[in-house]
Symmetry: C2
Subunit: 81 residues, 2 copies
C-alpha cells in the first residue's frame, strides 16, 4: 500500500521561495501565472499487510512529529491501494 503526504504552507504565511519561482516563470515568458506557493510531498511505501486506518493514524502522527511544522504548515494524508 502506498500513501502520499502533502505539506503546504498555511494561507497568510509568506513564501519567498514561491515568490522567486513566480518571478522566474515571468522572466522565462511563461504566461497566465498569478502566484506560486511551494510545498513538499512525501511518497510513502507502507509495509504489506498494514491496516489502512492504522497506517493513516501513523502517518498523521509522523506529520505532527516530523514532516510538517504545524505552526505554519498544513498537511494532508492520502492513501492509495
Amino acid at each position: 500500500m502506498k500513501a502520499r503526504v502533502t505539506v503546504t504552507l498555511k494561507n497568510g504565511v509568506l513564501d519567498p521561495q514561491g515568490k522567486a519561482i513566480e518571478g522566474a516563470l515571468r522572466s522565462l515568458g511563461v504566461e497566465g501565472v498569478a502566484s506560486v506557493r511551494q510545498g513538499k510531498v512525501f511518497d510513502v511505501e507502507l509495509l504489506p499487510g498494514v491496516d489502512a486506518a492504522r497506517a493513516e493514524a501513523a502517518l498523521k502522527q509522523a506529520c505532527e512529529k516530523l514532516l510538517a511544522n504545524t505552526v505554519v504548515e498544513n498537511y494532508r494524508v492520502e492513501l492509495a491501494p
Copy 2:
C-alpha cells in the same frame, strides 16, 4: 483557476533525503513505513479567464524549463477549476 504541479524523483534515482526521513520516522516509533521518497509540490494560481488547455501547456513548459530536472525527475500537472 488553480493548478498543482507535483515533481517527484524518477524510480532508481537515489533519494538520501527520503532515506533520512525513513530513519527518523523509525527512530520516532512510527511503524509500518517501508520507504519514503521526497518530492516537491507547486500550487499555482492562474490568472482569471485563462483557457485550461493553454494553462496546462504553459505549466508543462514551466516544468521543462524551471520546475523539474527532467533527467532525474518526473512531473505531473493537475488543473482544478
